[in-house]
């Protein structure tokens, strides 16, 4: 089951650039939360702070409190532990090119030393079914390389890979922006089904997508969170003038 995320006074920097400024936010458990805003507004940096991927860049740093359930992720746990509990799907599908479909899906388990054949088999089937890819690939799980799939299939395989380690939170950084409309709608269906079991945070440039999949939406602008509310409220009756300008297409 998913857990809620509480963010207090989060600030992040790349070198001397102050990319995130005083973010305060509560992301509810087992719901999809969308983050919208123009390019470079800090949405991606924000989700990367939620699984401590931000700090893999040597010039990046962050301050503030991020709590996942009871755990303060910056003080109570190592980044490796946090990343096992918070799955991430990236903008471009990034399968491991040397691995089969099977190995790609269970790479999170295998690379952490997990070897039980029967459980690995079950995990592959469960995760691929969750990612709605099972029927398409079940006959060449070990024959085909993960990189031989189409872009949309690769992205669903990456979602299966993230789900295979049984995370509580799933971060998706523009998961459909490199995909065609059919693949995009498959990914959206998926998010819709997965949100009953996982807390989902999705960064998107596509406002219709945010409206379709998310209960709550946050609007980011220039490193600040301008507004956070129910998706319905954001898109019909935003409190802030800048949010209204953005969603009506006046800038960005």
């Amino acid at each position: 089951m998913g857990v809620g995320i509480l963010v207090e006074d989060l600030n992040a920097w790349y070198g001397t650039t102050h990319t995130l400024q005083d973010i305060n936010l509560h992301i509810p458990a087992n719901h999809a939360t969308a983050l919208i805003g123009p390019s470079g507004c800090g949405k991606s940096t924000f989700v990367r702070c939620l699984n401590r991927m931000h700090e893999t860049n040597p010039i990046a740093r962050a301050t503030g409190i991020v709590k996942m359930g009871d755990i303060d992720i910056y003080n109570d746990a190592s980044p490796v532990e946090i990343r096992r509990r918070v799955g991430m799907v990236f903008q471009r599908p990034n399968p491991f090119p040397t691995m089969s479909i099977y190995d790609n899906v269970v790479s999170g388990l295998k690379l952490n030393g997990f070897r039980n054949r029967r459980i690995l088999d079950e995990t592959v089937e469960r995760s691929l079914k969750q990612a709605a890819l099972w029927e398409e690939v079940k006959d060449d799980l070990k024959k085909k390389s993960g990189a031989s799939l189409s872009g949309g299939q690769q992205q669903r395989m990456c979602i299966a890979r993230a789900l295979a380690v049984d995370p509580e939170v799933l971060l998706m950084d523009e998961p459909a922006s490199a995909l065609d409309p059919v693949s995009t709608s498959k990914i959206e269906d998926l998010i819709f089904q997965l949100k009953s079991q996982y807390t989902i945070v999705i960064v998107t440039h596509n406002m219709q997508q945010a409206a379709r999949v998310a209960e709550n939406t946050g609007f980011f602008l220039n490193g600040k969170m301008v507004e956070f509310d129910s998706t319905h409220k954001i898109f019909t009756n935003p409190r802030d003038k800048r949010t209204e300008d953005y969603i009506t297409g006046r800038f960005g």
Binding site: M53, I82, F90, P95, T98
Partner: protein, 303 residues
């Protein structure tokens, strides 16, 4: 604002017009010319190898027989004899060199590419590797002579292996670094995002993805030192008899070729040619074998 219909205006990609047709002809002429230059360069690259190979076959093949591969060198004045001990000796020394040089070289390359970005130590390692690459092999031989042979008070196969290993390291380190740099960052992020520790990501993801190129680098380094004579002169020293002990002087093909080639006897000159042919063929066979196995995935490091 033009009121003319669009079709009457000159278009940039109008294939019907004369100028466009002339352009196309010029472009395809250039294309043929450049392709021709590339093919010529390829031929020029292959030519020396083919020439050397044929000359070696011409000079050496006649002296090749079963005895060459089964007997040790005959004493001065006797005919016959072979290089069996040199072939095995070369194998032992090269195996020792690979055993030491390849792991150290790859490990240093992984450090440079995955952990040492922007660190002073990495800059120092990179500089050292480049300088080491340029150290003449005879200097390497003398250095190992004073560092190991003089200390142990005798020549040894081990000293020869160390000398060749040190010559292999810089090539392997730099190729490993270059090959790891071509692995997309997104793949590392995928692994880190799954909660895989950084060291495991470096080995099981980055290194594995780059393995075909790294294997090529190792093969280059191997082939380069396989024919080295100078570093072995003062270390492995050479041996006219069988020796399998690492602590004793050992025969090696390049050394034996050298000894025979500077001798005054025609019979020995012929054996030197035969030895050279065997050396080149053995290098080609081992490189090809590794490539076949690497392509089959045997060396790609199973997960």
């Amino acid at each position: 604002m033009s009121t003319q219909p669009l079709s009457n205006q000159p278009r940039p990609m109008d294939f019907e017009s004369g100028s466009m047709r002339r352009n196309t002809a010029r472009r395809s002429a250039t294309n043929y010319f450049v392709s021709g230059l590339c093919i010529l360069a390829t031929v020029l690259v292959i030519l020396p190898l083919v020439a050397i190979l044929f000359y070696l076959i011409y000079k050496g093949a006649s002296s090749l027989n079963l005895a060459f591969f089964t007997h040790i060198p005959a004493p001065v004045g006797e005919v016959g004899g072979g290089m069996a001990n040199s072939i095995v000796g070369s194998g032992i020394v090269l195996f020792l060199a690979s055993l030491m040089g390849i792991p150290i070289g790859i490990a240093a390359g992984v450090y440079l590419a995955e952990f040492g970005r922007g660190k002073t130590l990495a800059t120092a390692v990179r500089f050292t590797a480049d300088v080491l690459n340029g150290v003449p092999s005879i200097v390497m031989g003398i250095s190992i002579y004073s560092l190991i042979v003089v200390q142990q008070k005798h020549f040894s196969a081990l000293a020869g292996g160390v000398a060749l290993a040190i010559m292999m390291v810089p090539t392997i380190t730099r190729t490993t670094e270059e090959m790891l740099a071509t692995v997309p960052h997104a793949i590392r992020e995928a692994a880190l995002g799954l909660g895989v520790p950084k060291w495991r990501t470096a080995i099981s993801v980055s290194l594995r993805t780059a393995s075909p190129g790294i294997i090529t680098g190792c093969m280059l380094a191997f082939a380069r030192v396989a024919g080295e004579t100078a570093p072995l002169l003062f270390t492995a020293f050479g041996n006219q008899f069988w020796s399998f002990k690492l602590s004793e002087p050992i025969a090696a093909l390049p050394l034996q070729i050298y000894v025979y080639a500077i001798s005054p006897y025609d019979e020995w000159h012929r054996l030197a040619w035969a030895g050279s042919l065997v050396l080149i063929v053995l290098i080609m066979v081992s490189v090809t074998l590794v490539r076949i196995f690497a392509n089959r995935g045997v060396l790609k490091g199973g997960s």
